[in-house]
Amino acid sequence: YKTFDGDLKWDHTDVTYRILNYSPDMDSKLIDDAFARAFKVWSDVTPLTFTRLFQGNADIMISFGKADHGDPYPFDGKDGLLAHAYPPGEGIQGDAHFDDDEHWTLGKGAVVKTYFGNAEGAVCQFPFTFEGKSYTSCTTEGRTDNLPWCATTADYDKDKKYGFCPSELLFTFDGNADGAPCVFPFTFLGDKYDSCTTEGRNDGYRWCATTNNFDTDKKYGFCPNRDTAVTGGNSEGDPCHFPFVFQGKEYHSCTSEGRTDGKLWCATTDNYDKDQKWGFCPDQGYSLFLVAAHEFGHALGLDHSNIREALMFPMYSYVEDFSLHEDDIEGIQFLYGRKTGPDPTPPQPNTPTTTPYPDESDATEEPEPTDPSVVTTPSTVDPTKDPCKMLKFDTITVIQGHLHFFKDGQFWKVSNKTDGGRTGPFSISQSWPALPAVIDSAFEDVQTTKIYFFSGRRFWVYTGSSVLGPHSIEKLGLPPSVQKVEGALYRGKSKVLLFSGENFWRFNLKTQMIDKGYPKYTEASFGGVPNDAHDVFQQKGNIYFCRDLFYWRLNSGRQVDHTGNVKYDLLKCP
């Protein structure tokens, strides 16, 4: 390994980072996760911690850019230079830049996260079959609205699982239109545009107006890349147009005809001979996780290594099951020392516990009703399900002071004791037989120890092992428009906040009704949290809003004082 002259390093271990912008190649949540995992590569072997900031100046400022992106070291189009980073220090020092002329993936082709549909945001499964035909990219087949979609399993005809693919017809990102989709045609500087354009910009990013007249309304957003978006060439980001004519011949897929380097390309209009518009077809792309882990090594003070297998070797090569090389570990520990504090919790015994919930082992803390009649046969849970691999939980809540993570009929507990060990999986049906497999939210009335569970438009109330329900949530006074209660926040003094969509209601446990003056906008009362959080709970005086694998923590002053990763901070994954 090598360090920079003078062993440049950070003089503190709680390093901060901030993501300034996103690449249109991948969904922002996937990019967030790739960067979080890339930092974890280094925090796993050193005392370093990495906290993400959403404003202000962070130690490591991360951005995507093309060619000349504002520092003295321009990028060079597709391939070649992938990214660079500066050694620790003030200003641009410590920052990491990624070349957005690259096709950013996780190393094995486009990662297309879906929206809406019924797949809860799962990624596309390519190839998939639809009406007996195989598709290797998103398609508008079967639709009249021209929205590209894909199946999230290999066989749509059998599983019927699908979602919509990123497209400018579905949403835009950044800009000033809050993600509104493009409106075509739109007028810009008097000209009409019926597709995304880079006109008016010098950074090559494609944009559109979200009303039909940008000149008057000034509303715009950036277009997400479709999965067939080309890179390089002279129409970066535009999708391939199939069929297209080249040298008088029709092509229905990418071709290397006309090139000596064998690279696949396509035209982005129906006639290359006439329009000369083209670009390189999407390939495996470069793993943003691997490249980021390398660049963050620079940002922490490591220079290039001459060990070919090391992460800090200057050339990119894709690795399926990544693990940090000894050379990298020696280098980073030379700068920051070994990881201090407890070793990662030893792997939990994966023989399922056989005692149903409530768990006797807590009996020492407070007496709990246990119903001897409850059957204690081995649970039917799947011990191989690893909560650390899940992208999202049905609900996260606090019961008897312990965090509970519910997912597909199972739940895990993280003790609130200092060692914070995780136990499970437990079977929901064994502990609360009346409940369905999917729980949207739950809370415990600490005064009566009643536990309320919500699923869809129904709720159940458990007192020990006896249950009331299911009842309709309308019984609580929630309007028919509420399809599900996504979060339940017990506020003490028999008050509970119930969250759904962008609103929340205050439920009075005494009157068993919603208080007057509700609903209210979540954003208005809890500034800075996402309005599509799907888990809300309170622990140790802080309120947590969770979306997928991230959480926003509000302190007692209702200020977002920390954002983190559910997996590593709450679920205690190694």
Partner: protein, 89 residues
């Protein structure tokens, strides 16, 4: 047999930039990543010879240190990589 009969070579606009000569590519690579840095010798500044720079690069990349622009070295120069120089200046 293996060549398409009527393969037509098309120079697309994007292509022109990429078809630099190998030597030119090597020179810019060695300079960009710090292998061609100047050497101080008794007050006299001189550029590192290309052969010496090539040897440095071959050592860094775990290639045979021939000091010549052989095929493995040229292939290595065309591989995607990090933009931070290999030799700090």
């Amino acid at each position: 047999w293996s060549r398409p009969v009527k393969s037509v070579l098309v120079t697309s606009p994007g292509n022109i930039v990429k078809n630099v000569a190998d030597v030119e590519l090597a020179q810019s690579y060695l300079k960009r990543f710090g292998y061609m840095e100047t050497e101080q010798r008794s007050g006299f500044q001189s550029m590192v010879s290309t052969a010496k720079a090539l040897k440095r690069m071959q050592r860094q990349m775990g290639l045979e240190e021939t000091g010549e622009l052989d095929k493995p070295t040229l292939n290595a120069m065309k591989r995607p990589r990090c933009g931070v120089p290999d030799v700090a200046n």
